[in-house]
């Protein structure tokens, strides 16, 4: 590969010039290096209370701070804007004590009012993250006790509360109010502007192409790698297709990429100066059956399919970079157990279940729906199609837009026979997964099975209010076993998360609770 | 008088998928300097092809010269290189065409077209090419000389704004741009109405008289030819069948085809004479009749006519005819 020249921005970014043609230099901003990260997904809306997905949250996490923060693997919740918090014994009241030196990018302090304002704003907007707390937290129950103390009083005991708090970012009330139009809570302005206190601040925002962040000078929390090594900034560049993204890494146009296919790993590993980060993930893949209507309402047929499915193909498709699920919960989730009788490919059993079903000789066609444009579920669909030929069941593989799929899944009579679904729990609390199987989740994308088992529902409700950890975990173990018995879905796999980066990229810290592809940019730097 | 143009044994074929058509089959004729010659014949007899041969305008392929010579001022036009032919066009031999509407470029102004013709003549002459302004002045005077009023306004206009007669006058003016010796007029009035036709014919006669031009006029209309030319050549199916002074031919045609042609034209002044047609139709030149090409339609044809091609012979002084049976 020919070495290409790199471009550099000279002081202040006002004057532009070509870098020396010999060799290459890093992207620089003044004396500091700039790291370029590339993924496939746009960041249409920056507002932390409006929406989230992996790319959006990565930028939000960089620009904003939360009261707490998830770090490490297994994920831990560490203090951030809040130095500490207290919980009342009844599990209803949480009191957060804020750090003294935290300040927004405009220099104003991050005080209790800012926290209250931010939570209130998120709840009022009732979008994005609001669902996590809105049933348990009313805006008027958030009180700024003093400048550095905020108290939340929940409507009912809710054990997962703390596990959600890190995703509630604190915005600068003064800026938001200054840019409010027609009582929109600053929504329009916040779409493309930052009002945070985070380690980075926005320099250029073009959500479909490129986002340029500058490191916030004198970030209140300091830098783990030290002021000397810290970056001058980060660029998130959207390259939709994997081939050009790989090429860009190869040509050193970017320093780190994500959304690489398992097939790419081998190629990338052989490149000199390139390393791979390959970590067990947190995102479960399952094929949800419609348990209410159609042939798959028959548990025996579901079992037959689950036993006929070639689970190894999931691993092969991912070139080994995946782990089969041993329970409805991902392995790094608290309370996860290996459910002993979870199905694996066993054609004899499959045929036995089939013979007990309404279709002893197969002869039916089932629809398998995946999100249009996603490659892995499509290939898994092919594997499913291949597997079910042994049962004389044919599969109609359909890619549909997300909206269509969700809309169909909202009612049992329109939900597809089988739908491939990825679910990433937003927190480490087992309730986030368990609640998918609750009656309340029916019709939502993770509730497409319309799983119907009132006993399990009852256990889920009990567990989320239970404050005794041991008792909770026992309940969850039982929940996992019961769900596997009912087979509302084929429990698939957890794919590894993959990044590839130049070897001079340092400070990468994996945390499974983040979404696929999402990186915590704060601790990273470039060496050399 | 000296011969300005001599055509000898000129044969031209058009090649097509269906074979080779002998469009001109041994043409022999001479034009004296300063004379007026009319060529008459029905459609497909090759008269227009002959006219275009003089300026090398027949597209090749499909046209292919089989044999013969066309000597103009002593030089064989058929062997001229393209550049030399370009130098001749317009400067020595000029041409005016049948349908003035289609022979003027619809999207260019008269000024542009005339200037280009004038400057093209300059370039061909090898001397300095005059400036557009000078060329336009020349165009102005040319238009005046063909009897067009208000040349300045005319120059600024486009062909579609002119009437048929004006267009033909413009084309004549362009033909005069290089001050030619020989003017070839290919059916110059066929597309015009009868009143305008008379005007254009008068103009041509006037130019021939005033400028001492040699005229070769081609038409299917014997009346037009008779009005403008002193001598007439009758063509049939790619051959010259008779060559005679106008009055002599009209009063006493020698070739059976010429006789038939004259008898077929209805005479406005003598309606009591019913015109007679010539039986049959013009032969296909892909497989022309053997011998005399007219013999299948000729009531005097004999076995000899089918076998032997009659030569164009001088039967009377100044009168040539190609017929085995023709008598003075």
């Amino acid at each position: 590969m020919p070495q290409t020249t790199r471009r550099a921005v000279l002081l202040g970014g006002a004057a532009l010039a070509l870098a020396p043609t010999a060799g290459f230099t890093f992207e620089r901003d003044g004396a500091k290096k700039v790291m370029v990260f590339s993924g496939n997904q746009a960041v249409p809306v920056l507002d932390p209370h409006m929406r989230y997905d992996w790319s959006t949250r990565m930028i939000q996490q960089s620009v904003y701070d939360g009261l707490l923060k998830y770090v490490g693997s297994p994920p831990q919740i560490v203090p951030w804007l809040a130095e500490s918090y207290d919980t009342s014994p009844d599990g209803l009241t949480y009191t957060f004590h804020l750090a003294a030196n935290a300040k927004f990018h405009d220099g104003s302090p991050v005080d209790a009012e800012a926290v209250r304002f931010s939570f209130e704003r998120a709840l009022k907007m009732n979008a994005g993250i609001a669902w996590m707390l809105k049933d348990f937290l009313k805006p008027e129950k958030i009180v700024a006790v003093d400048a550095r103390t905020v108290r939340f009083t929940l409507e009912a005991a809710f054990s997962p509360f703390i596990s959600y708090v890190p995703w509630w970012y604190i915005v600068n009330p003064a800026l938001v109010k200054a840019n409010e139009v027609d009582g929109d809570l600053g929504r329009k302005w916040m779409t493309e502007n930052g009002a945070g206190s985070g380690p980075f601040k926005l320099r250029r925002f073009d959500g479909n192409a490129l986002i340029h962040l500058d490191t916030a000078p004198g970030y209140w929390k300091g830098w783990p790698m030290g002021e000397e090594k810290r970056l001058g900034g980060v660029i998130y560049r959207i390259i939709r297709e994997s081939a050009p993204r790989k090429a860009a890494l190869q040509r050193r146009e970017v320093d780190i990429i994500t959304n690489i296919t398992p097939d790419d790993i081998g190629q990338l590993e052989r490149l000199p100066g390139v390393k791979i980060e390959n970590h067990p993930g947190f995102t479960t893949f399952g094929i949800k059956f419609n348990t209410k209507e159609g042939p798959t309402a028959d548990v025996n047929l579901r079992k037959a399919i689950a036993y006929a499915f070639d689970y190894d193909s999931l691993i092969t498709i991912h070139n080994g970079a995946a782990t089969l699920m041993t329970s409805p919960f991902p392995a790094s989730m608290a309370g996860h157990i290996d459910v002993p009788n979870i199905p694996r490919k066993d054609l004899a059993k499959a045929r036995e279940y089939l013979s007990r079903s309404a279709y002893p000789n197969g002869g039916i066609e089932l629809e398998y729906v995946h999100v249009q444009g996603l490659e892995d579920p499509r290939r898994i669909g092919l594997a499913l199609l291949d597997s079910l030929r042994a049962l004389n069941i044919s599969v109609n593989i359909v890619g549909q837009p997300w909206t269509t799929m969700v809309s169909r899944g909202s009612k049992p009579d329109t939900a597809p026979n089988m739908t491939s679904i990825y679910v990433t729990p937003v927190g480490t609390d087992p309730d986030t997964v368990a609640y998918q199987y609750h009656r309340e989740s029916w019709g939502l994308y993770y509730g497409m099975s319309h799983y119907d088992n009132p006993e399990v529902w009852q256990m889920i409700s009990t567990a989320r209010a239970e404050t005794d950890t041991a008792r909770r975990m026992a309940l969850y173990a039982e929940i996992q076993r019961r769900i596997v018995d009912d087979q509302p879905e084929i429990f698939g796999m957890v794919a590894n998360r993959l990044w590839s980066m130049r070897d001079y990229v340092k400070g990468f810290a994996f945390s499974p609770v983040r979404f696929t592809g999402e990186v915590d940019l704060y601790p990273m730097w470039i060496e050399g | 008088m000296t011969a300005l143009l001599e055509i000898e044994e000129y044969r031209l074929a058009f090649d097509s998928f269906d074979g080779s058509a002998a469009v001109l089959d041994g043409i022999d004729l001479t034009i004296e300097a300063g004379s007026t010659l009319g060529i008459v014949g029905e459609s497909g007899c090759g008269k227009s092809v002959l006219a275009r041969s003089l300026l090398g305008l027949n597209p090749s392929p499909p046209a292919r010269v089989a044999s013969g010579q066309i000597r103009f001022e002593g030089r064989d036009l058929l062997t001229l290189r393209p550049a030399a032919m370009r130098a001749l066009r317009g400067r020595r031999i000029a041409m005016i065409f049948q349908d003035p509407a289609s022979y003027l470029n619809p999207v260019l102004s008269i000024a542009t077209q005339m200037e280009d013709a004038i400057r093209g003549q300059d370039a061909a002459a090898g001397g300095a090419v005059r400036a557009r302004r000078a060329a336009r002045a020349h165009a102005h005077s040319l238009l005046g000389s063909v009897g067009l009023p208000d040349p300045a306004r005319l120059l600024a206009s486009y062909p579609h704004q002119l009437s048929g007669g004006m267009r033909q006058r413009v084309l004549i003016a362009m033909a005069l741009a290089g001050d030619p010796t020989l003017l070839v007029a290919d059916e110059p009035t066929t597309a015009l109405d009868v009143t305008v036709q008379a005007q254009v014919l008068a103009l041509i006669a006037e130019l021939v008289r005033d400028r001492g031009l040699t005229l070769m006029l081609i038409s299917h209309d014997l009346g037009v030819i008779a009005a403008a030319c002193a001598r007439i050549v009758v063509m049939y199916a790619g051959t010259v069948v008779e060559d005679a002074p106008t009055r002599a031919l009209l009063e006493h045609p020698l070739h059976p085809y010429a006789q038939g042609l004259i008898a077929a034209v209805p005479d406005l002044d003598r309606p009591e004479i019913t015109p007679r047609g010539i039986p049959g139709s013009i032969p296909s030149l892909l497989s022309p009749p053997s011998g005399c090409r007219f013999h299948p339609r000729c009531d005097r044809a004999t076995a000899r006519c089918a076998a032997e091609k009659p030569l164009l012979r001088e039967l009377l002084p100044g009168r040539r005819v190609a017929c085995h049976h023709a008598t003075p």
């Binding site: 979008a127 073009d206 479909n208 | 093209g120 033909a175």
Partner: protein
């Protein structure tokens, strides 16, 4: 401007308005036959039922269809294309952001198409049935037959991945700031601002997509121009020009080409319209941040407001192009200029 022209323009614009309304109806109908639930998209992936319902109200999706339609038309009348369901952003703002990139790409591609297509067409016609003509003709048909997305991939393979001469995709390298917009067309702005290195870099990014986009257009122009030139060179007035001794160069480039350019102009107008729709493919391949990519990504996400917006823009562009071609026709063809 005389009264006739004013009347004509008024009629044409009125007709275009009618067509636009038809188009709006068409796109609205299309977007509503979809079995998807836009509200689910609006509310986000983890949204609960109440959030979905709130989004439905917020976007007016709970209103009956005729009312939704009237609202949409009303919004459009104020230049407002509605809000994207997926992102909540104003489609009008997004279109304004992406349109210049597409226009820039199309203009450059059209320049390539005309500057290469017309001379090649002339050359091919003048050398009719010669070897150059044969090669050119196959080349021209190839332009129409070559799948643009595949051609783009091949060029990427060759020039970006293989030879490494040009970047694979995007509009500028990550660290280069685009010049402050004057016209919105980046290359033009770079020149106006005197930022020549940005211009050079921008050129290196735009050249491959522009070539791919221009190929079918170039081929069409070449074909039509060649055909018209062949026809024109056979025309009587060209024979006359030859007889009058007009120089060959002037005869081909002025006398013949002026006539051949009229139908060529028509195909240029038509192709300009088509080009806007081909950008859908080309922008997808080259990650070009224009309206084509915007339309495709929205269509795949089931987000219809942007698709409708792009369809309207593309249709409007097409109508304007054909109006301009009609007017240019009058300028170039004196026969149409006055009665």
């Amino acid at each position: 401007m005389d009264r006739g022209l004013t009347l004509y323009l008024a009629r044409r614009i009125g007709l275009a308005g009618l067509m636009l309304f038809g188009l709006i109806c068409l796109t609205f109908v299309i977007s509503n036959v979809a079995p998807s639930d836009p509200a689910a998209l609006a509310a986000g992936p983890d949204a609960g039922r109440s959030q979905i319902e709130q989004a439905r109200r917020e976007y007016g999706l709970d209103k009956p269809l005729p009312e939704q339609f009237l609202r949409y038309v009303g919004d459009l009348a104020q230049g407002e294309f509605g809000r994207s369901i997926a992102t909540g952003r104003s489609v009008g703002t997004d279109l304004l952001r992406y349109l210049p990139a597409t226009l820039e790409l199309c203009i450059l591609a059209m320049l390539i198409g005309v500057l290469v297509g017309v001379p090649l067409g002339v050359l091919s016609a003048v050398l009719k049935d010669g070897p150059i003509d044969h090669v050119t003709r196959i080349f021209a048909v190839s332009g129409i037959a070559m799948p643009p997305f595949w051609f783009g991939l091949l060029l990427q393979l060759a020039f970006a991945t293989g030879l490494g001469w040009l970047p694979t995709s995007g509009r500028l390298s990550v660290m280069t700031l685009p010049p402050d917009p004057i016209t919105g067309l980046m290359l033009v702005d770079a020149v106006l601002r005197g930022q020549w290195d940005v211009f050079r870099e921008g050129l290196s990014y735009i050249i491959l997509p522009a070539i791919v986009l221009s190929f079918p257009c170039l081929a069409s122009i070449l074909r039509v121009n060649r055909g018209e030139m062949v026809e024109t060179l056979r025309a009587d007035y060209i024979t006359a020009a030859r007889a009058h001794g007009v120089t060959p160069w002037r005869m081909i480039c002025v006398h013949a080409l002026r006539n051949a350019m009229l139908p060529t102009l028509a195909i240029i107008g038509l192709r300009w319209g088509w080009m806007m729709s081909s950008t859908v493919l080309v922008e997808t391949v080259f990650d070009w941040p224009g309206i084509g990519l915007y339309a495709v990504s929205s269509a795949i996400a089931g987000d219809f407001k942007p698709v409708m917006g792009v369809t309207l823009i593309v249709g409007l562009n097409f109508m304007i192009a054909s109006l301009i071609v009609d007017l240019l026709y009058g300028v170039l063809d004196p026969r149409l200029r006055e009665g």
